[in-house]
């Protein structure tokens, strides 16, 4: 008794974040299907980049999306932050899984929609504008190796500043300042890049 394929018009109401979040809050499975179709490859790509194995990465994506489904009443995504929320969840769950795999403690960093929302401000909207262009990837790639590597170790490998310092044989102070400097350069690159995007649109 597989359900009929939804009409394109039914999917259309979920094209905008506001409609999609409404659908999730109403517990409409079609809304989740649309969310998966929109973000599944991106989410799996992130989890796979972190975990390096397909089955674990798929488990993480499923767990993250089910969390969204179960916490749908807390989502208030009228302004394009649903993607960020989902990807933040995927990231956290993937890093926790990686740390457990390595026999380390999972991190005690909370993640909920309110946090993502708070981080949003209008800057995040502008960052989001640029994501489609792969500008984040480019901004990261353009960093000097000595800044890019610690950032990648923190974000994709879930290491703390102490662990990064140990692995790279650097003083802790150097790692702290390289993490910050790298992020600031990315911020500047994304600002100019997304400003460009905004002018074009």
């Amino acid at each position: 008794m597989s359900p009929d394929l939804p009409e394109p018009s039914q999917r259309n109401i979920y094209r905008e974040d506001g409609g999609l979040a409404d659908g999730l809050r109403r517990r409409d499975p079609l809304a989740m299907e649309v969310l998966y179709d929109r973000l599944g490859r991106q989410a799996f790509g992130l989890a796979y980049r972190i975990l390096g194995d397909g089955p674990s990465a798929e488990d993480v994506v499923q767990e993250a999306l089910l969390t969204v489904w179960r916490q749908a009443d807390r989502i208030d995504a009228a302004r394009g932050r649903l993607n960020s929320f989902v990807m933040t969840l995927v990231h956290h769950k993937a890093i926790d899984a990686l740390r457990v795999k390595r026999g380390q403690q999972a991190r005690q960093v909370p993640v909920d929609f309110a946090e993502v929302e708070k981080v949003g401000a209008d800057f995040s909207d502008r960052v989001l504008q640029s994501i489609a262009g792969g500008e984040v990837r480019e901004a990261l790639a353009k960093l000097p190796e000595e800044q890019r590597r610690p950032i990648e170790m923190a974000y994709y490998e879930g290491l703390t500043h102490l662990e990064i310092a140990g692995a790279l044989g650097l003083p802790l102070g150097t790692v702290k300042s390289r993490l910050r400097l790298g992020l600031e350069k990315m911020r500047a690159a994304l600002r100019s890049g997304s400003g460009h995007e905004l002018r074009r649109s």
């Binding site: 299907e33 490859r41 796979y48 980049r49 798929e58 994506v61 956290h92 990261l140 703390t160 702290k176």
Partner: protein
Amino acid sequence: MNCDEVEELLGAYALDALPGDLWADVSAHLAGCSKHPEATELRAVAGALAFAAPEAQPSAALKSRLMDAVRADSAPPTEAPKRVGLLNRMKQLTSQRAIPYALAGALAVALIAVVLTNLDSGDSNRPGRATVSLSGEDNAAAAVYELEDGIIVVDAAGLKPLDTAHTYQLWSITSGQPSSLGLIGTAPNGEALAVVRAELKDIEFLAVTVEPAGGSIAPTTDPVLEGTA
């Protein structure tokens, strides 16, 4: 922690690259201090790294697994009580008889009242026969009553119709041991009526689960209906 220390840690904080206690210290400082406006932006930049990983194609099975789980979990997010696995529930039952009674709640009382009223009007011999109400999510509910000694009737409504690969199965659980009372078929409107040979007085707990067609030896899924006898 002072402003200088926080400034020094902002990059690592934005990337969640701090041990939990240190992360919480920075977070607490930022919540009460307006001198670090860049903290939010740095966190947004770090968050955007999620989109820097190359997209990749998961197996087709992921989507069907996800959607199966979503459909199986379609109760309202805040109102649904946390599901307790049947095995756990059985342990609870044997150790703490009070909990299921509490869970049965007002719905049980209301249903018993309805059933007794119906029985009263139908057959004056029946009042006084033991009655059990089962409840589940999405308004699924059932009344179970003794037709005569050793024969019980299960009158259920609100059960989702199942595909041909699955069936509802009724279980009695006594001293933590489930035993099958048989399979239950549903009408398209979600109603079901089953007559089963069992002594209601010997049963502590009744549950209905979804099982593969043909039924199972023991429950393999969480109950869709449950109640204390």
